[in-house]
């Protein structure tokens, strides 16, 4: 494990003079499920198309297990793609769609039949071999597209937002199925999505992209719990940004920070801190604790919104200084203090040690960050 399979070096790509990818480096491991995550226009699809060979980089190189693929035509790359809208050949049956890649390799008929049957069995579509794509549902078409791509046993499977056209429930099912397939096949999956939930639940590693530059590369847990910058923190999940000020070091590895008027002791962050420095204290809604108004801990505020989400209860609380706080709490029916009414005064605190510190970034006003 952790052996580099696909290696991207200093990849740059411009369209009409506009830079889409800017000198991007990325090593993709053999057998991993890697997700490229970012908002639309961040370059994730371009990156995938460069790997597939549909686009040619202006600069940089793509190497697969030591072979330089940069100038190789798509038909000669041992990578296959699952397209966003499936791109099934409308004039061919399901069987012929899946067999297409093997026919291109000029495999013997018997082998083609056997491998196509296997691939269709893998996605549970054996009975649909004779149908045309338009006779299938969206989810079935999706599975044909996957079978068609994996039947060639590629080294890497590229998936371009393959679930975005499916409804929520089907998407969930397909996520599980894709993950199972990836485990069974042991193929490297490179998955493009703008859905952070999807990225977190499926991937071994997540690449967060913005304007053609990697913002963070890490496990879903790292990306969610320890975002590298404000963009990642804001894009992946919901976050409360509290303004803090460093009061000074108060121990070996801890610093004292004044946040919302509370004096708290935090682990020293990775970045340099100086006394009096302003920084962001990040807390996920599930880190927040809503306490009774007579509690001695926390900051006073009042509940302005309550949303029942089934397993959790989400609230919006306005602090006295106007800061908006999102809180997401699991039900605890034994806790009598749990259910606050709208407008009721409460105090806001959080679980110690669950906060994450980020430095101020240039060009971002402090106020603008809080309500992002």
């Amino acid at each position: 494990m952790n052996q580099t399979l696909l290696s991207l070096r200093a990849l740059s790509k411009q369209f009409d003079g506009k830079s889409v990818l800017d000198s991007l480096d990325l090593d993709i491991y053999d057998g991993e499920f890697l997700t490229l995550l970012g908002p639309s226009g961040c370059g994730k699809t371009t990156l995938l198309r460069l790997m597939a060979g549909f686009e040619h980089p202006d600069k940089g190189s793509i190497t697969l297990a030591g072979d330089d693929l940069t100038n190789t035509a798509p038909e000669h790359r041992p990578l296959n793609t699952v397209f966003q809208n499936y791109a099934l050949f409308p004039h061919m049956s399901v069987f012929d769609n899946v067999a297409y890649g093997l026919k291109m390799e000029k495999r013997p008929k018997e082998e083609i039949r056997q491998r196509v049957d296997e691939a269709l069995a893998m996605v549970q579509l054996e009975e649909y071999a004779g149908r045309k794509p338009h006779q299938l549902s969206g989810g079935q078409q999706q599975r044909v597209a996957i079978a068609r791509a994996v039947v060639k046993r590629p080294k890497v499977l590229l998936l371009d937002e393959p679930l975005s056209a499916l409804d929520y429930k089907l998407r969930r099912t397909m996520q599980v199925e894709l993950k199972r397939l990836q485990r069974e096949l042991g193929i490297t999956f490179i998955f493009v999505t703008h859905d952070q939930e999807e990225a977190l639940s499926m991937s071994d590693r997540v690449v967060v992209l913005k304007e053609g530059v990697i913002q963070q590369l890490g496990t879903p847990r790292e990306v969610y719990e320890r975002p590298a910058n404000l963009f990642t923190a804001r894009f992946v999940g919901e976050t409360n940004f509290f303004p803090g000020r460093v009061d000074g070091a108060d121990g070996e590895d801890t610093i004292s920070v004044n946040v919302l008027g509370l004096k708290r002791s935090f682990r020293k962050p990775d970045f340099q801190v100086a006394e009096g420095q302003e920084l962001h204290v990040l807390l996920r809604p599930e880190d927040i604790r809503v306490l009774a108004p007579e509690s001695t801990d926390g900051v006073p505020g009042k509940v302005v919104e309550r949303n029942y989400k089934g397993s959790t209860l989400d609230s919006v609380i306005h602090l006295e200084d106007g800061t908006e706080v999102l809180a997401s709490e699991f039900f605890d029916e034994d806790d009598p203090a749990f259910d606050y009414r709208l407008g009721e005064p409460v105090r806001v605190s959080w679980v110690d040690g669950w906060e994450w510190l980020l430095p101020q970034e240039n060009g971002l006003a402090q106020g603008a960050i809080a309500d992002a």
């Binding site: 597939a52 060979g53 549909f54 035509a73 798509p74 038909e75 000669h76 990578l79 296959n80 793609t81 397209f83 966003q84 809208n85 791109a87 099934l88 050949f89 409308p90 004039h91 297409y100 890649g101 291109m104 390799e105 045309k132 068609r148 791509a149 060639k152």
Partner: protein
């Protein structure tokens, strides 16, 4: 009354459309020599038609001309449409517009200019001049039909084929052409019919060596309407109906 008005109106419209055709078909089976009295049922005009060697020759000439003109213009037109669809280049819009100019310009203008051109280069008027002229006026129709189909073409399909190991040529043969086939057929049929019943352009650019059906009929009726022409008209009608049904059947099948 309100119920009857639309029905009467529709009936009138369809009578207007179909009475001439019905008269033609009915009188093609008329024993009598004249077009205004009924002499009983007969196939004599069909017999006369098939015994008229000049007429049969003109029919074959017309069919062969329509076939070749439609095929050539479909080949050229499909490639033109692909180029216009696939590549981005300066002046593409102008080229597109120029197709419409040819399509919309009066036929007589095209006829005169083609004749002038053929005379200028000293070309013998006959099959080749007719073919060139027919390809010219069929071409825009083919390009526009194929372009319409290509605009709804999923750009990911060629990429998917390439991704699965097809070269550009193999992709074109196995994916692109089959997908746009209905448009190619529609364009071909359009060209075929346009060529088959063209009179204006053909009058100008045909020579005595190659007589085609519309011109033959035209010269026949100038000296009085012969019942043979009715028989010919009825046959052409059946032929067009078969072509129409065939094209619809192909379109339906491809849409499945």
């Amino acid at each position: 009354m309100n119920r009857w008005l639309p029905r009467t109106y529709l009936t009138l419209v369809y009578l207007l459309l179909y009475v001439p055709i019905a008269v033609l078909v009915v009188f093609s089976f008329n024993e009598s020599r004249t077009g205004y009295d009924w002499g009983g049922l007969s196939l004599r005009w069909y017999e006369a038609l098939f015994n008229n060697r000049a007429m049969v020759k003109a029919m074959w000439n017309s069919l062969w001309l329509a076939l070749s003109a439609a095929t050539i213009s479909t080949l050229i037109g499909a490639l033109t449409a692909l180029a216009l669809h696939r590549y981005r280049f300066r002046g593409k819009q102008v080229l597109n517009g120029m197709l419409f100019v040819v399509m919309m310009s009066p036929e007589i203008v095209l006829a005169i200019s083609l004749l002038a051109l053929f005379l200028l280069v000293g070309m013998q008027l006959g099959y080749v001049s007719l073919l060139l002229a027919h390809v010219t006026f069929c071409l825009p129709f083919v390009v526009i039909t194929v372009t319409a189909r290509l605009s709804g073409f999923d750009e990911r399909l060629p990429e998917a084929a390439r991704d699965l190991g097809a070269s550009d040529f193999v992709m074109t043969r196995t994916v692109l052409i089959p997908v746009i086939m209905p448009a190619l057929l529609a364009g071909w049929l359009l060209g075929f019919t346009l060529s088959l019943d063209d009179v204006v352009v053909s009058t100008f650019v045909s020579g005595p060596s190659y007589e085609i059906l519309p011109l033959r009929i035209y010269s026949m009726v100038r000296v009085g309407l012969k019942p043979e022409v009715n028989a010919l008209g009825a046959l052409l009608l059946v032929f067009s109906l078969v072509m129409l049904i065939l094209s619809q059947w192909i379109l339906l099948r491809s849409r499945r």
